[in-house]
């Protein structure tokens, strides 16, 4: 009897894993079949107004890139503070708050940026979108930096200090260098996360049918346009949405896998 229960339990557990894999397989297969059938290289040449995706892809990458330029230095220095300078309560409060912020609903962050950036500026803009994404990114970068720095052995820091280096030299030249791979992985994963975000962009950057590099106006966003296209009745719009989803997912998964691959090689 005990053995039977054990068998049933193990079977259920394996079944759960199969269910999980089945969902992944199902979603990816759908994406590949639907996406590839509407995929064409002209998508990379034309803008949305001409039935292509060029402006959206460029726009999304600019938004996520700009968010990274804002978010990575802020997140890393904050992480450094928590791990290297912070003593006692304040650092641990910031760490907890950053963890809470990491799970804050993304649509709420969109609403916040709408109130503090979009309304004063008088309209949606690329800047607002990038700021919203940066706010999403900062806590993730803090978390990675914090935990990666905590793995660097104390002796390395002591050796640096013993050689007479000042503390910031030790942090920048020794500690960060030792934790470089881990932090880079974390940043890649954070980038993969924000590049696929839709909710914080809905009313900050919005989207645009035209190619634009002007961050002061409504800015083309791949994800927001997928949402718009998928809700349109015409078959052709939905096909375009599938093609866009396919490109987006491939991009996100490649970034994600690259990140994991880097750490894996390091640990070997």
């Amino acid at each position: 009897m005990r053995l039977l229960i054990n068998k049933i339990f193990l079977a259920l557990s394996i079944l759960s894993a199969l269910i999980g894999l089945a969902f992944l397989g199902w979603i990816l297969t759908t994406l590949f079949l639907k996406g590839l059938s509407s995929f064409h290289f002209s998508l990379f040449v034309n803008d949305l107004i001409d039935g292509g995706l060029r402006n959206l892809l460029v726009g999304q990458l600019i938004l996520a890139g700009l968010a990274s330029i804002i978010g990575i230095p802020l997140g890393m220095t904050a992480g450094i503070y928590i791990q290297e300078y912070g003593r006692g309560k304040y650092a641990s409060i910031i760490r907890d708050l950053s963890d809470i912020m990491m799970s804050a609903p993304s649509i709420v962050i969109g609403a916040f940026v709408y109130a503090v950036v979009v309304v004063p500026m008088g309209g949606t803009s690329g800047y607002a979108g990038a700021i919203a994404l940066a706010i999403m990114m900062i806590p993730v970068v803090i978390n990675t930096t914090d935990s990666m720095l905590s793995l660097v052995p104390r002796e390395l820091r002591e050796a640096g200090i013993a050689l007479g280096a000042s503390k910031y030299k030790v942090i920048l030249d020794i500690v960060i260098r030792a934790a470089k791979v881990g932090i880079m992985t974390g940043i890649l994963l954070a980038f993969a996360r924000i590049v696929g975000e839709t909710a914080p962009l809905l009313f900050t950057s919005e989207t645009s049918n035209y190619f634009s590099l002007n961050l002061g106006e409504s800015f083309p966003s791949l994800t927001v346009s997928i949402y718009d296209l998928a809700n349109e009745p015409e078959e052709s719009s939905r096909d375009l949405a599938w093609a866009a989803s396919f490109i987006l997912t491939v991009m996100v998964l490649i970034i994600n896998l690259t990140g994991r691959f880097i750490t894996r090689n390091k640990h070997k």
Partner: protein, 321 residues
């Protein structure tokens, strides 16, 4: 230079604090007109964007009483006598009222469905990854499950709407866009998240404990049930609560699937709306009191998720460390 760097890093750290406080204050001030107008009754009022005669007492006050009391029971058919027609044909002066009950109920119910669906499967996956699978299979499956978590939520929404929902509604009947389909897709989304944290806390069980139990002749099931589970219980509960917090705030997947109508669901396969979806769909056109009411909803969502995540952090995940 040393000083500058230290000050700089302190400033960045403080930014987190400033941002969180800033979000709270901004939401509150933007919601203020709606808070002043509707007070806490907003939470129990099921009417959104409804014209009522000026100076009239909102008739829905009594209706909302009994709907809230039956909320705890998921399967309860919620009777709402919401059939009061918009009788603004007579030339009475009217004002528009907003109530948040429908999106609040929609958010909570869809999250509960997601949790009910994801919990057993996530536990099974975690057990499989931590205890059953050989190391290399566990690694591969682990990465696959984490890739599932990396897929953007809008993709879950499209897949859910065009491929998953028809099957679900084929089995359970009812509408393709409904509380049920939204909840289930939400469940698939939080699945990898829950499984990963649960696996990690299961992995913290010292192997000495496990080996002792095996040496006494325990089966794998008994070791998991009597050794690993009690040991990692706190972390597992923490992971469930974190997943709950994530599901509450999910926007895009639910936006495709919940149906987006302001109506209390009478059954699980009825369409309704959730807070994030109400914001996503109505924010663009809203102004004045309508916009303010959306901020009120955002504030409620923010406070709920803040509370839930704090509970998970302070009571469960801390101890697990």
């Amino acid at each position: 230079m040393e000083k500058i760097f230290q000050k700089l890093s302190l400033a960045s750290a403080t930014l987190v604090f400033v941002l969180l406080v800033g979000i709270f204050i901004t939401l509150f001030t933007s919601a203020k007109p709606a808070i002043d107008e509707f007070g806490l009754g907003f939470i129990t009022n099921p009417d959104w964007n409804k014209e009522v005669p000026l100076n009239a007492v909102p008739q829905s006050a009594t209706v909302s009483e009994d709907t809230t009391s039956s909320l705890s029971d998921e399967d309860d058919m919620i009777e709402d006598e919401d059939d009061m027609l918009m009788d603004d044909e007579d030339d009475v002066e009217t004002k528009t009222i907003y109530g948040g009950l429908v999106p609040i109920v929609g958010t909570l119910l869809s999250t509960l469905i997601a949790l009910a669906f994801a919990l057993p499967i996530a536990m099974g996956i975690a057990v499989f990854l931590a205890e059953i699978a050989p190391k290399n299979i566990s690694n591969i499956v682990g990465i696959a499950i984490e890739l599932l978590a990396a897929i953007p939520s809008i993709i879950f929404g499209m897949w859910g709407l065009y491929y998953f929902a028809p099957i679900v509604s084929g089995i359970f009947g009812g509408y393709q866009v409904s509380l049920l389909t939204a909840g289930l897709v939400l469940g698939v989304m939080i699945l990898p998240f829950m499984a990963a944290i649960t696996r990690d806390s299961m992995n913290t069980t010292p192997s000495v404990l496990k080996e002792s139990a095996y040496a006494l002749g325990a089966t794998k099931f008994e070791v998991i049930k009597d050794i690993i589970f009690p040991y990692s219980k706190v972390g597992i509960i923490g992971s469930i609560i974190l997943a709950l917090g994530r599901a509450l705030g999910e926007t895009m997947a639910v936006a495709f699937l919940i149906g987006s109508i302001f109506q209390l669901p009478k059954a699980l396969n009825d369409p309704t709306i959730s807070i994030p979806v109400a914001m996503a769909n109505n924010f663009g056109e809203a102004s004045g009191l309508g916009e303010s009411s959306l901020f009120y909803l955002a504030l409620i969502l923010f406070v709920i998720s803040f509370a839930i995540i704090s509970i998970a952090k302070f009571f469960f995940l801390k101890k697990a460390k």
